[in-house]
């Protein structure tokens, strides 16, 4: 652990990514303190105000302060990404361990299901699930969670397969240690590194997915200050009021960049051999 921290702190990428994310974390936590306006409040006397002056980043077509909405939006983005990736990790690791450790029929079924889910482009799958569940913040987290489950299952399964044959697992099995404790003690720690990297990358993708779905109008509830919704709205005003659509996009790109940089850094720190893993 100590060594990990040392290497982490000496990796420029990892530190840079963490700093960007820290900024977002702070803005999410301190939103009520730092946001200059109520992000929901519509001021029909201050519609489409350009940046500068009282509204630093301007207002949207309903007179809402864009800066405040972006600050509150970081809460939504972080919430969506954390919850959905937690769902995906939990479900994916569980399935992956089942498939990898027990093999045979279990593996056959789980692997087929994973393969089938992989056949659907992420956006399309998320879109279908959202159409079934209906648009809401909770549902979008579930939908994105489901979409990213197979990748975790696949990575875990692969890692389990390599660890399973190793000497210390064989040894543990031969002295009658239960499957459960073998999994917890010997297998999970060994799949931690690739999973951790995948988590960081998935967090980035989750933010993008939420924005994309909200952008298509089937994401979160319309008055929630989600960056994707702001972009969707901004797009129709792009010619009259560029600021409505430009700033939320920058926020998304920055947050995603933070996770991606951190992911790259983590990958180097944890295991240089993982360098070639791409989403």
């Amino acid at each position: 652990m100590k060594e990990f921290m040392h290497r982490f702190l000496h990796n420029k990428l990892a530190v840079a990514g963490s700093l960007i994310l820290l900024l977002f974390l702070l803005s999410a936590v301190l939103a009520p303190v730092i946001a200059p306006f109520d992000p929901y409040y519509m001021d029909s006397t201050a519609v489409l105000m350009p940046p500068g002056g009282k509204h630093l980043l301007g207002t949207d077509n309903m007179g809402r302060d864009i800066l405040s909405r972006i600050i509150y939006g970081s809460r939504i983005s972080l919430q969506v990404s954390l919850v959905s990736v937690s769902i995906a990790t939990a479900a994916g690791v569980f399935l992956g361990v089942l498939a990898g450790y027990f093999g045979k029929l279990t593996d056959g079924i789980i692997s087929r299901v994973i393969e089938i889910m992989f056949a659907f482009p992420e956006v399309l799958l998320a879109l279908l699930i959202m159409a079934i569940l209906g648009p809401s913040l909770n549902n979008i987290m579930i939908a994105i969670g489901i979409v990213y489950t197979p990748i975790f299952a696949r990575i875990t399964r692969g890692a389990v397969l390599t660890v399973k044959e190793s000497l210390h697992v064989e040894a543990a099995r031969s002295i009658g240690v239960s499957d459960f404790s073998i999994i917890v003690r010997h297998i999970l720690p060994n799949v931690l590194a690739p999973i951790l990297v995948q988590i960081t990358l998935s967090l980035a993708f989750a933010i993008l997915s939420e924005a994309a779905l909200s952008f298509l109008g089937i994401g979160v509830e319309p008055d929630i200050p989600s960056w994707g919704i702001m972009l969707n709205n901004g797009k129709s005003w792009i010619e009259i009021a560029w600021w409505v659509g430009v700033f939320p996009g920058i926020a998304i790109a920055l947050a995603v960049l933070g996770f991606n940089i951190l992911g790259d850094g983590l990958r180097d720190v944890l295991d240089p051999r993982l360098r070639n893993v791409e989403n």
Partner: protein, 313 residues
């Protein structure tokens, strides 16, 4: 190897069947059916029942699935409830748009991503490498749909170089067609190019690091020649795999991009079908996309096997 190919071909059959099941039932799980959507506020029980009967929606869901599956196997995808046109025909008219969009984006990835990745690998830890690293990170972080909007703002609304949306078929002039595809392909292609660039960089670095390359260097071969001679060949497999994988996300990404640029592609057909609850069209479209993706991966796998026959499976 032949055995492997056969085995691989057989193995996708259950996957394809599974896809058909998922597609069918996912689509039918979507709340609100065709009748309610079509009738809108003019909904009455009788009118809805009549509509459902007309399209066989009153049969049991299992029966409907098998009827559909049987149709698919005989090449009959059914008809759109909305326009009465055969789904196959609809797909046929939409596929070229999405295909063109996807191909242009892939082309961009191949022409820009791969060389830049290799270049960065050669100049490792120097300026070009850092620049490529930063560009790559930006490329995978900027949302394509936002980039699309920004491109419209800059190139279409401000500079007036390209149309802001709409589609001109190839048959009406290559130039006009290319003009309307340029911005969408760019918006979609940036992320793929970045991914490809990053992976070709790391693939090449790995190869460069390998012993025989070091040996080659010791023998006095120039680095560029080394890379051309061994590096490209040895990284091809990885890059190919990445390209195959990316095709899937391109198909997904085109849903959003087609929306932004008002392109009549497969993705916008799917969205439109979701909104209209036009089941057969939606099923056909999603099935088509998924099967395409499976087939692309199959081809990549087989190529893999051809390029590198000593890999054992």
């Amino acid at each position: 190897m032949l055995r492997y190919i056969l085995k691989r071909l057989v193995s996708i059959i259950p996957v394809l069947l599974g896809i058909s099941v998922v597609v069918f039932f996912a689509v039918r799980l979507i709340p609100g059916d065709y009748a309610t959507v079509t009738l809108g506020t003019q909904y009455t029980e009788e009118a809805a029942a009549a509509l459902r009967q007309r399209y066989g929606l009153d049969q049991s869901i299992i029966t409907q699935y098998f009827i559909w599956l049987k149709g698919i196997l005989t090449g009959d995808f059914g008809f759109s409830y909305i326009s009465n046109q055969p789904v196959a025909l609809l797909l046929f008219s939409r596929v070229p748009v999405t295909l063109e969009l996807t191909l242009f984006s892939l082309l961009m990835a191949v022409l820009v991503g791969i060389p830049m990745g290799y270049w960065a690998a050669c100049k490792r830890n120097r300026m070009p490498d850092s620049a490529v690293t930063v560009l790559g990170l930006l490329g995978i972080s900027i949302p394509g749909f936002w980039l699309g909007t920004m491109l419209v703002l800059l190139f279409s609304l401000t500079l007036k170089w390209f149309p802001s949306g709409g589609f001109v078929p190839l048959s009406e002039g290559i130039l006009a067609n290319l003009r309307c595809m340029f911005l969408p392909a760019l918006a979609l292609g940036v992320a793929v190019s970045a991914v490809v660039m990053r992976s070709s960089r790391s693939a090449m670095i790995e190869v460069v690091d390998q012993e025989y390359m070091k040996m080659g260097k010791a023998k006095g071969l120039s680095q560029t020649r080394l890379i051309l001679k061994h590096g490209v060949k040895n990284t091809m497999i990885q890059v190919l795999t990445i390209l195959g994988l990316q095709t899937g996300s391109l198909l997904g990404g085109s849903v959003v991009i087609e929306q932004i640029f008002s392109l009549p592609g497969v993705g916008s057909l799917a969205l439109q079908a979701i909104n209209n609850r036009d089941y057969l069209v939606l099923q056909g479209t999603v099935l088509f996309i998924a099967v395409m993706f499976v087939l692309i991966n199959l081809i990549v796998d087989l190529l893999y096997c051809v390029v590198n026959p000593q890999i054992r499976y």
